[in-house]
């Protein structure tokens, strides 16, 4: 009997009137866990009942504790007829199962009914007594901590990062069972909510088991999603990164990370099995012979669209055979080997249940310093599947009617189905893995998976960033590892190392335009870098970043089943290609050279496909200055046309110039400033000297490069291309005082003030069905997104200066002519004056920081400005000129930092060829559709600011902050209380009365926020970080006056302490304070 769950029902308040005659309610409560139910007494005639019940005790297995939610139902007693349900509360007791998190859940929970919404609140106390269970064969995984945060959580230190864990669970969707025809919508919704809750619990437990197998103690970057496959069922799947985390409790933990791993490793018994791996991955030599034919020489010129130029790139195999190549070569190979062996060892570790293969994937987007060595580029894969067909192929033949079979208890049969889904995902992951290899990388970071389902067609997508990792965190710490580490660190230039190409420049997997790193001058870098991760904290950046989006629609014919899947498969590569081109154009227009946090979402609808890519553009100091965009007309003889072209060209050039100013991208100036600043280290000095001597050359060269050398040529050969150019120019920059990005950290802003406002905004537009053309569709979609952003800027205007961070857009196509866009983000205010000062020296600071930092710095932009040791060299060297001239004449095209190819339906093999060809020039990525932006609340800034001083004496409701970021500006997270993962359904049959679709959804989202906050508060927390709305499925039937919506949200419940509340914490030195804080948190556990 490994656990005793104790529940006490204290009181209710604001209950609805259930008895019209008396205007009162006779309420009682049913408390259910598993199959056991307790009831309170009926509290007669009150809307604020005081039950003050005894402790209800459930004696249960810890396996059940993990799977089952506690279910509390409030009912109105009725002597003569059936008792009426008022509503329910589901409480996930998982946070009580590990010692460091919450010890008690106690507080007011909204009583939720799927038809009426929130109806009053109930005060509940929940405790768990857990007995230690030493059974080795247990099925539970109590004690494994889960974090949604995609970085190592504050107040923890990563001892080992084990790697990828995934699991999925499949079941029949209760909404599609025959019984749904005879039961009430409420019963159906509740069955669904309960089922998903159960499945989530089971999934989490299974993932936990895998983590224990790997000898980890936590899952970071846990992302759980569900796929509503309709008739074919309901899939709940999750991915995450298994880690061994150490709570930072003593100063010792702050020792430079490089010394500690070996020590820490010994503390943890870690008997990695030395078995040869069962791994399918190839030899550890860098692969130049991938299965993919990336040979750039294949004729690309057939493509007529605007990206012609990049297609005409020829491989420059001979280029840049300087010292960098020699220096870098062996080093990289070594690194690769090491990393791979580390990864493979992990894969080879003994597993009781057989896993077919191990993937070197990491769902993290930010890493401990030194973890990320090189970044190759984005890798992604997509696959179109037919749900109907795939669905249990084994059954189809045998049973004839699979559905009736599945009506059986889902536990009894679900073993078979996941296999199918597992196989699909395995296939995609395999693909991703091989793409990464093609880029000379053995790991994929910032990895995520998503699906888009329409009827029976499903697009599975996965994307990530190919990378070379430092084996230190992956291996059990041996002495060599540590030495190796030192060696690595000494040799890695700070602030630019991750930009250096991991692949062999003599055998580049795709045509790329390499130059020597502008930072260290030693290694080669690509001209453009696309990634799905956050900007590394030590990256040297110039100016500010900005949100860049590519938006695209493509009509497709309505079709059934296989024809449909084929049509989609055919369209996908074109979409990917165009999305990529758009991104590249917009990036150049901004005068930037790298994208972080790239998410490409492809959504499938009945008659169209939508593509939406979001990323944060930045100017990386290590990469070359991007060239401009040149427009070439196709009919040069026509005078007016010429004029038009030159007019456009001027507009584009103006825009680029304006953007450079707006985002403060001014590399030469900065380098000059730096020259004058003190020089801390001899090593740097030498570089500095160089830059000094050559700075003037650089300036001129940059000027030159803008106009011609690197120019990106857009050929305007038809109206489509014209449209493209126009659409480039229609993106309006945010109003002054606003910045936006989709990453955690806004490059160039580091002085956040404490005001934050998280929000979700949803828009649905109906397209006029007449004359739908691709262009009209594109315009509509573009306007939709732009207007949405404009609305956000307007609404949040009182927060200026502020930045929308983690802007997360999700597109769905709920019906034929409907487009739904959901945005979640957070607005954070910052101090403008400080910002101006700091940005200039930001580069230097970040570099400095990198050299001194410790792991805690990771995702705290606040801390970025900690010290102001100046100086970073910007070495315009001779090589620069050389390489530049070597490249002249070659338009910088999309630097295919990533090569990926999507596996389309197997049957469409002919397309694969085409797709692969494209893949060379396309960075493919799949983006999760949610956009989270954090904002500070525009409302009542004043109030917010004053709040800390005089909080309203009357209010009993504590403030709970929510943010999609992993941190809270101006505050320290002292404790993680557990994961919040909630699923709600809301349905109405009186849509008009509830204010139409907008009123209905507005109220529902507000209720969801309220329920999240209530759960966090009950756990003793005051914020949710890494909050994400993973799903918001909205369906309406206005004719029937009905609507239904499903929402799935998750995040980490935390306790934070305002920095201002801590004693004299100089804000400029927050890192130093991390420790005491963490220990504080520790004390309470």
């Amino acid at each position: 009997m490994p656990g005793k769950l104790k529940v006490k029902i204290v009181a209710g308040r604001h209950l609805p009137v259930m008895d019209r005659a008396s205007d009162l309610t006779d309420a009682f409560v049913e408390v259910k866990f598993g199959n056991t139910t307790f009831k309170t007494d009926v509290y007669l005639k009150s809307l604020n009942p005081q039950w003050n019940s005894e402790w209800f005790k459930f004696e249960v297995d810890d396996e059940d504790l993990q799977d089952e939610p506690l279910q509390i139902t409030v009912l109105d007693h009725d002597t003569y007829s059936a008792n009426d349900a008022i509503g329910k509360v589901y409480i996930d007791i998982d946070p009580l199962l590990y010692s460091e998190a919450a010890t008690v859940i106690s507080g007011w929970f909204p009583i939720y009914d799927t038809i009426h919404g929130i109806r009053g609140e109930i005060n509940v106390v929940v405790k768990v007594d857990l007995f230690n269970d030493l059974n080795r064969f247990r099925q539970s995984s109590c004690g494994v901590k889960f974090f949604c945060t995609t970085s190592i959580p504050k107040c923890y230190r990563a001892v080992i990062i084990h790697g990828f864990v995934e699991e999925l669970v499949v079941n029949e969707d209760p909404e599609y069972q025959w019984i749904d025809r005879i039961r009430t919508p409420r019963a159906s919704n509740e069955a669904r909510q309960r089922l998903i809750s159960l499945m989530s619990g089971e999934l989490q437990r299974k993932i936990g088991l895998k983590v224990l197998e790997m000898r980890g103690n936590a899952v970071v970057g846990y992302l759980q999603c569900f796929d509503l496959e309709g008739e074919s069922g309901l899939v709940v799947r999750a991915i995450g990164t298994a880690c061994t985390l150490d709570k930072l409790s003593s100063p010792a933990a702050f020792l430079p990370a490089c010394n500690s791993p070996s020590k820490d490793m010994k503390e943890i018994p870690f008997n990695e099995d030395p078995n040869p791996n069962t791994h399918s991955s190839g030899p550890s030599t860098p692969l130049k012979n991938q299965t993919y034919s990336f040979s750039p020489s294949k004729s690309y010129s057939r493509q007529s669209s605007s990206s012609d130029t990049d297609l005409s790139l020829t491989p420059k195999t001979g280029m840049g055979s300087g010292s960098a190549g020699k220096e870098g070569g062996p080093f990289k190979a070594l690194l690769r080997q090491q990393t791979q062996s580390a990864l493979e060892q992990r894969g080879g570790s003994p597993h009781r249940f057989c896993r077919r293969r191990e993937f070197p994937f990491f769902t993290l987007t930010a890493f401990p310093p030194g973890f990320l060595v090189h970044v190759g580029g984005v890798v992604s894969a997509r696959s179109v599947k037919l749900l109907d067909r795939i669905h249990n192929p084994a059954f189809v033949g045998i049973m004839g009617n699979t559905r009736s079979y599945k009506l059986l208890d889902w536990n009894s049969f679900n073993s078979d189905e996941p296999e199918t889904r597992d196989a699909w995902w395995a296939e995609i992951r395999q693909e991703i893995k091989s793409h990464a290899k093609a880029l000379g990388c053995h790991a994929v970071v910032g990895y995520s998976e998503s699906t888009s389902i329409c009827e029976e067609v499903c697009i599975l997508s996965a994307s990530g960033t190919a990378a070379v990792l430092n084996p230190r965190f992956l291996q059990d710490g041996t002495v060599e590892g540590c030495l190796e580490q030192r060696w690595l660190e000494e040799n890695l230039p700070i602030g630019c190392g991750f930009c250096h190409i991991p692949y062999d420049e003599l055998n580049m997997p795709f045509p790329a335009h390499l130059t020597y790193c502008y930072n260290c001058r030693k290694q080669k870098v690509p001209d453009v870098l696309f990634t799905t991760i956050d900007l590394p904290t030590d990256a040297a950046v110039i100016g500010k970043g900005c949100l860049i989006q590519a938006r695209l629609c493509r009509l497709k014919k309505k079709a059934q089943a296989e024809a449909n899947a084929t049509a989609i498969s055919n369209l996908l590569p074109f979409m990917e290609y165009e999305v990529h081109t758009q991104l590249m154009n917009k990036l150049k227009l901004k005068g930037m050279n790298a994208l972080f946090g790239l998410r490409i979402q492809i959504t499938v609808g009945e008659n169209m496909l939508m593509g939406l890519a979001s990323a944060t553009g930045v100017y990386l100091a290590a990469l070359p200055t991007p060239g401009g965009i040149q427009i070439a007309g196709k009919t040069p003889n026509d005078g007016s046309y010429e004029q038009h072209i030159s007019h456009m060209q001027k507009k584009i050039n103006d825009t680029i110039a304006k953007n450079k100013e707006l985002y403060e991208i001014n590399p030469p100036e900065i380098s000059e400033e730096i020259i004058g600043s003190p020089i801390p280290e001899p090593r740097q000095r030498s570089r500095l000297l160089r830059s000094q001597s050559e700075s003037s050359d650089e300036v001129t060269e940059l000027d030159l490069s803008h106009g011609k050398k690197d120019a990106f040529v857009l050929e305007i050969d038809d109206t489509d291309a014209m449209e493209d150019v126009h659409s480039l120019l229609t993106d309006v920059p945010p109003p002054s005082g606003f910045y936006s990005c989709n990453t955690e950290i806004m490059p160039g802003i580091n002085n956040w003030t404490s005001e934050i406002q998280m929000f979700t905004s949803v828009r649905v537009i109906r397209l006029s069905s007449l004359n739908l053309t691709n262009q009209a569709l594109n315009k509509n979609f573009n306007d939709l997104c732009e207007n949405l952003l404009k609305s956000l800027y307007f609404k949040l205007r009182s927060m200026i200066p502020c930045c929308l961070c983690h802007v997360n857009f999700t597109v769905s196509l709920p019906e034929d002519e409907l487009i739904q866009v959901t945005v979640t983000a957070v607005a954070i205010t910052f101090d403008k004056n400080q910002a101006l000062q700091t940005t200039k020296t930001h580069v230097e600071k970040s570099l400095q920081r990198a050299s001194t930092d410790n792991e805690e710095l990771l995702q705290f932009p606040l801390e970025l400005c900690s010290d102001s040791l100046p100086s970073h060299p910007f070495p315009p060297a001779k090589e620069h000129l050389e390489s530049a001239s070597a490249n002249s004449g070659i338009p910088a095209a999309q630097r295919a930092t990533s090569v990926d190819y999507s596996s389309f339906a197997d049957r469409c093999s002919s397309w694969i060829e085409l797709i692969k060809l494209k893949a060379q020039t396309i960075r493919r990525g799949s983006i999760k559709t949610t956009v989270t932006v954090e904002k500070a609340s525009p409302m009542g800034e004043g109030n917010f600011r004053n709040r800390s001083a005089p909080p309203c004496a009357n209010s009993t409701v504590g403030v709970v902050k929510m943010t999609p970021l992993s941190f809270i500006p101006g505050a320290k997270i002292t404790k993680y209380l557990g994961i919040i993962n909630m699923f709600f359904i809301r349905e109405t049959t009186s849509l008009r009365e509830e204010g139409g679709v907008s009123g209905f959804l507005h109220a529902f989202i507000a209720e969801v926020f309220a329920m999240v906050r209530a759960h966090v508060a009950a756990l003793g927390g005051n914020a949710v970080v890494s909050y994400i709305m993973k799903q918001c499925v909205f369906m309406e039937n206005p004719n029937k006056n009905q609507a239904q919506c499903l929402i799935n949200v998750s995040g980490d419940a935390v306790v934070f302490v305002r920095e201002s509340d801590l004693e004299v914490v100089p804000t400029q030195q927050p890192t130093a304070n991390c420790q005491p804080l963490c220990t504080e948190g520790e004390v309470t556990t």
């Binding site: 307007f794 204010g995 959804l1001």
Partner: protein
């Protein structure tokens, strides 16, 4: 391309004070958008009309959802659905319960019934306040009235506790409730020159001195019928006021009173002769008002009577306010020197309040 659905939900509920005001003022979304456009907000922010429309709709929806909670402000504080900083909550409540001077003058002293609610259709065009806003204000009055009607204890405290209003607003509501309960006539033409503030001032004095609660003995005897202590005038006191009649009925007493007052004020009053000539009329007027208060009908006409019997005569003689003050002080005080008059305490309770009221009512 039409927008089917367009919402924005913040973790902290966004409240735009300007839009809130427009909503409270009862403007439709399109009117509100037009007004906002006129305010120049588009130029300031570079937004488009569509953005403004969407923003306004959003706020209106939020306010609509909040309205239910605003009907019982403590619920707003304890609810979990909208996370609103306390100072914002206070602002929402305060503004929601704020009322227009023009409107309150129309309904002050009227029974807060369905009948009156029908009159709102006329009040709206007359005052230029939208019908929606009129209804909100009327419903607020009625709601507050209903809640505190049956309560014991201080009217202002009860209102503050149940509606979380500022002290100022709670006092105003106490006046409104008090007037509605006693049905004082305030709408007559000759009362039009009076502001709500004038009445509220009088109401406060009356609540403090003329109600059961004012006596201060109620709490000791919970079983006595001392409910509604602040709402109803002290019946016994009103009954007793008849005793004051002797001041004008007894000719000797009246003459003595007059001579006392005249002696004391001679040379100090700019309008001495007018005062001397009018003394008996004025005194009769004031005492008769007191004596009549036993009848509900006459209670209702209290302010009409005061204006007719005192304010207007003085005003027609152009008494300066200071002279009125000197006169009333002396007039009240002199009674203490009338040996034959036994109801000094009663007189003070009556005149103390009345003097305050009259001084407030005495203006153009």
């Amino acid at each position: 391309m039409t927008s089917e659905l367009d919402i924005f939900v913040g973790n902290t509920t966004l409240i735009d004070e300007d839009v809130y005001r427009l909503w409270l003022d009862g403007y439709s979304v399109s009117d509100a958008v037009a007004l906002r456009v006129r305010s120049g907000i588009l130029e300031q922010t570079g937004a488009t009309a569509a953005v403004l429309q969407s923003d306004t709709m959003d706020h209106y929806r939020t306010f609509h959802m909040l309205e239910r909670l605003l009907h019982a402000p403590p619920k707003l504080l304890h609810q979990l659905i909208f996370q609103i900083p306390p100072s914002r909550q206070a602002l929402l409540i305060e503004r929601y319960y704020a009322f227009d001077e023009a409107f309150v003058r129309e309904v002050l002293g009227k029974k807060l019934s369905k009948g009156t609610k029908k009159d709102l259709d006329d009040i709206s065009p007359k005052t230029g306040i939208t019908l929606k806003s009129c209804r909100r204000q009327f419903d607020n009055f009625k709601r507050v009235f209903k809640v505190v009607e049956e309560m014991r204890g201080s009217l202002v405290d009860n209102i503050q506790q149940h509606f979380l209003l500022s002290d100022r607003l709670a006092r105003d509501y106490a006046a409104i409730v008090f007037f509605a309960n006693n049905r004082f006539e305030t709408g007559k033409k000759k009362l039009q020159y009076l502001s709500f503030g004038d009445f509220a001032f009088c109401a406060e004095l009356m609540i403090q001195n003329w109600t059961l609660g004012a006596v201060g003995e109620a709490p000791t005897d919970p079983d006595s019928q001392m409910d509604d202590m602040d709402m109803d005038l002290d019946k016994e006191f009103l009954q007793d006021l008849k005793e004051l009649k002797v001041l004008v009925a007894d000719k000797d007493l009246l003459d003595l009173h007059k001579s006392l007052v005249c002696t004391a004020l001679r040379g100090k009053l700019g309008v001495f002769s007018e005062m001397e000539a009018n003394f008996k009329n004025l005194s009769r007027g004031l005492v008769n008002v007191a004596a009549k208060l036993t009848h509900n009908k006459d209670v209702r006409d209290l302010f009409v009577d005061l204006v007719e019997k005192f304010v207007e005569p003085c005003r027609s003689d152009h008494w300066p306010l200071n002279d009125v003050r000197l006169f009333l002080n002396q007039y009240s005080a002199s009674v203490h020197s009338l040996d034959g008059f036994r109801h000094q305490a009663l007189w003070d309770r009556y005149m103390g309040t009345l003097r305050g009221c009259l001084l407030r009512l005495y203006h153009d």
